[in-house]
Amino acid sequence: MIKLRDLSKSYGRFTAVDCLNLDVPKGELFGFLGPNGAGKTTTLRMIAGILQPSSGTVTIGGEDIHSDPEAAKAKLGFIPDRPYVYEKLTGAEFLRFVAALFGQEGAEVEKRMDELLELFELSPWKDELTESYSHGMRQKLLISSALVHRPEVVVVDEPMVGLDPKSARTLKDLLRAFVGRGGTVLMSTHTLEVAEAMCDRIAIIHHGTLAASGTMDDLRRETASEGLTLERLFLKLTGGEVPSSLLGMFDD
């Protein structure tokens, strides 16, 4: 459903993403992990058609995002890491606007909107201006907006940030249900427990290149790390373990 071929993005002499190849088939929840600055958000923004790759291609449901952006984007719901909503629009107005961007309006959109707002317990705030929403409520509204047009693929960057435990649980269940009905999810997250528990397959990106990809068992086999948790495996692949010499500074 999502295919990345030799995808690269450079800013001057700095290469943020370097020749990335990835396949996310239909009906899979794919985790995209990596340390800060590894190139996760850049990759997701290229998939969403917001950034132009320096080279390589992005295909969504068979449509190339750069040669036929409208057809590819119509299949996509993108949830960015920094939620932006228009402050002076009500929750309902915002969802109607996003649905209209996807060429949808009418009773079907209203029904879908009510379902999503009910699911995220935003119904009482439906007609309130979003400036009065908390960060978590904005995040929930943004997630609803990514689903309001019934996408085939959802690309989500750090979905759990700012959500209370109940909403995080709802989102996990929602994404699993979405995948269960044939949808595809590409999720970037720093919460390794979430990735381990939810994702069918995981890719770890480091310095813009793919360090490892596969199921948890595949990753353990590839890195000869039988029995390791995802956290230890992640640190092993990205070199993120704190040296014992540094820990020694607390001894005195």
Partner: protein
């Protein structure tokens, strides 16, 4: 008429319905409406005060412009010409302000706007996004100039309703007088 699908080849996909420019701009005008509603419900005195100050400023600009133009009208020979030249200078000044203001606003609307990701990630034709952003830039960068220009142009319309005609007539009369003078000088020299 739609083309029949050829066996073995996929029929061309129907173009996606596109939102209108008005829809793309709906967060902007809804924001303006929401602000007006909030002002109405919360700060009546502030709105009244702002309206009075605005009206006072508008009247002052109109009054000064009207007096100056009226004075020019009373000056023989060059009055209309000076008023015309002043109008040209004003238009040039407005053009300069609009140019600068549009460049600055366009930079923030096209490159720094917080809603760009949301709009660009949606399947909206780039030309529609461009036109909507252009409209937004035009309104944001020009409303103040329009507000200042309106009383000045109104003042031009009242005391010099036939300003251009009168100016042309004056110039024609001056030209006739010069020609007459030339002819008489020519005959004297003969």
């Amino acid at each position: 008429m739609t083309e029949p699908a050829v066996a073995g080849m996929a029929a061309p996909a129907a173009p996606l319905p596109q939102p209108g420019i008005w829809t793309l701009l709906s967060p902007k005008w809804r924001t303006a409406l929401a602000r007006v509603r909030q002002e109405r419900s919360g700060a009546g005195m502030r709105v009244l005060l702002l309206s009075l100050v605005g009206f006072g400023f508008w009247s002052a600009v109109f009054g000064v412009s009207y007096r100056v133009l009226k004075y020019f009208q009373g000056v023989p020979d060059i009055g209309t010409l000076v008023a015309t030249k002043l109008l040209a200078v004003l238009l040039l000044a407005f053009l300069g302000v609009l140019l600068l203001s549009n460049i600055i606003t366009a930079l923030s609307t096209f490159f720094l706007a917080a809603d760009l990701d949301l709009v660009v990630a949606a399947p909206v034709d780039w030309l529609r996004v461009y036109i909507a952003k252009l409209g937004e830039t035009t309104v944001h960068s020009s409303w103040m100039v329009a507000l200042v220009a309106l009383p000045i142009f109104t003042a031009y319309g009242i005391p010099v309703p036939t300003g251009m005609v009168a100016g042309t007539a004056d110039e024609a009369a001056t030209a006739r007088a010069i020609r007459k003078e030339d002819r008489s000088e020519h005959s004297r020299s003969k």
